[in-house]
């Protein structure tokens, strides 16, 4: 995944990608607006950190971006838009699509090795390459010794690393992460962050939802602050932490309840 040979293919994909744009995006569920007219543009590379209190709509924002949910109105454009196009690109370049890593990693009922091999087989990686690619992915996730353990037996941190390694195997042009290090110990958090940094170095667009302010400071290129389904700020890291731009964002950073 992180080989030089694949760097070329990822770049090929990036050249074809456009910045991701939310245009007047509204999402209503059961008549309740959970995302309220979001307008923003995410560059096709770099690390965007999404911050916001619980229930602000961060996970929905990621799901909309990943195409797992359809907006009630408005449009999300850019990136790779056609389903067939995604598949075609997967075969042409090996850099197929956006991938979402969930807060609670979804593990197939197979070994750690087979979890990664499954994704490779799905992306038509030649049979003779699968074993070596899986070994490399496991090494990057520091799971070499856990290769033949049923994935659902791994610890939370190991499962998250496996989920991330599995996702990175397909060289997505955008990697969307929903609190990937929530409830992980410092070591697992460091490994997860290292894996994300490697993907970023490869040119993969990173969109990361987190509640960890320190993590945001460590990793962000730009920060998107969501509150009650609205984007209240989208600034560079330096600008955001200097001036969050709203009392809600300031209260969030200070860890206090915003005054109405």
């Amino acid at each position: 995944m992180l080989e030089q040979t694949n760097r070329t293919s990822t770049s090929t994909a990036l050249r074809r990608c456009k910045p991701l744009q939310f245009k007047d995006v509204v999402l209503e569920i059961d008549g309740v607006a959970l995302i309220r007219q979001i307008n923003c543009t995410l560059d096709s590379s770099g690390k965007t950190i999404v911050l916001g209190p619980n229930g602000a709509g961060k996970s929905l924002f990621l799901r909309l971006l990943a195409g797992l949910m359809e907006p009630t109105s408005g449009a999300i454009t850019g990136g790779l838009e056609e389903q067939d196009g995604l598949r075609k690109l997967a075969q042409d370049t090996g850099a197929p699509c956006m991938s979402l890593v969930f807060q609670n990693p979804v593990m197939l009922r197979r070994t750690a090795f087979e979890n990664i091999a499954f994704v490779l087989r799905h992306h038509q990686v030649p049979k003779h390459e699968i074993s070596s690619k899986v070994d490399k992915a496991l090494a990057i996730a520091r799971l070499e010794t856990r290769a033949h353990v049923p994935a659902r037996r791994l610890s939370g941190g190991e499962q998250q690393r496996l989920a991330l390694a599995r996702t990175l195997m397909i060289n997505p042009y955008a990697l969307l992460l929903d609190e990937p290090s929530a409830s992980l110990d410092p070591l697992s958090t460091a490994i997860v962050e290292d894996m994300i940094e490697r993907a970023d170095a490869m040119g993969t667009k990173i969109v990361l939802v987190t509640h960890d302010i320190k993590q945001a400071k460590r990793m962000a290129d730009d920060i998107l602050f969501i509150h009650e389904g609205r984007v209240l700020a989208h600034k560079s890291k330096r600008a955001f932490f200097k001036d969050p731009g709203s009392k809600q964002a300031q209260a969030y950073l200070d860890g206090r309840v915003p005054q109405e």
Partner: protein
């Protein structure tokens, strides 16, 4: 009371002496039921998975229908298959009535809805867990279906065993389409019914003991599969 104890003694003798007639009945029963279960699993697993993965008009109606058909009365299935296979029926020319094939068909019709409905239950739970993951990988419907079948393998084995339990203990349908012909279509359940009505309890008892042993074996297998799945945290 003395007659009963004598019957038990003869039954155990039949079992112990590997009585040819007794074991040929057991062999035919297993052959018919295992064949029916294999066909039902091939059909039922696919139906259950398709009802789970694909969204189409009438899907809910089909789910309700398969659930309702789980309790299909065997004699009604026997009657339906009899009408289809009888000389004046649409498949009469095949001459299948009163053959083991007819019995396999009847048992397949009987247990396929059961296998399909239970498979759908097992796979729907899994699908709920995997749905977003599958969509994020852009798996095609066929890929989702095949992956779900593999991921649900432990649950599906227990579904298959439940189907086998129903097939092997069924009497009404196979009696109607098989005719209970000695050395041709006589299986354990039909033989027990016949021998009991004749008053020859020993053979009926010997077959009953084997039937109960098979039932215990099936239930033990279900428990083993479940514990193995749990042990490996595959469940």
């Amino acid at each position: 009371m003395g007659d009963f104890s004598q019957a038990f003694q003869i039954a155990f003798n039949l079992l112990w002496s590997m009585d040819v007639e007794l074991y040929s009945i057991v062999y035919l029963s297993l052959k018919v039921s295992i064949s029916a279960v294999l066909i039902s699993c091939a059909l039922g697993f696919l139906i259950g998975a398709a009802l789970t993965v694909f969204r189409f008009p009438g899907r809910r109606v089909l789910l309700i229908l398969f659930n309702a058909l789980m309790g299909l009365p065997p004699v009604v299935v026997g009657l339906m298959v009899y009408m289809v296979l009888s000389r004046s029926g649409p498949l009469g020319v095949l001459g299948l009535l009163y053959t083991p094939t007819a019995m396999i068909i009847a048992q397949t019709v009987l247990i396929t809805p059961l296998v399909a409905a239970l498979s759908a239950q097992v796979l729907q739970e899994l699908h709920h867990e995997y749905d977003e993951f599958f969509r994020s990988l852009q798996l095609s419907g066929r890929e989702k279906l095949m992956t779900l079948l593999w991921e649900g393998r432990f649950g599906l084995v227990t579904v298959g065993l439940a189907g086998f339990g129903r097939a092997i203990s069924e009497v009404g349908a196979v009696m109607i389409v098989g005719g209970n012909i000695n050395h041709v279509t006589r299986i354990m359940t039909t033989a027990i019914a016949l021998e009991t009505s004749k008053g020859t309890l020993s053979l009926a008892l010997a077959l009953g003991i084997i039937l109960i042993a098979i039932s215990l074996l099936v239930n033990t297998s279900v428990a083993l599969v479940r514990s193995k799945a749990k042990e490996a945290i595959y469940a």
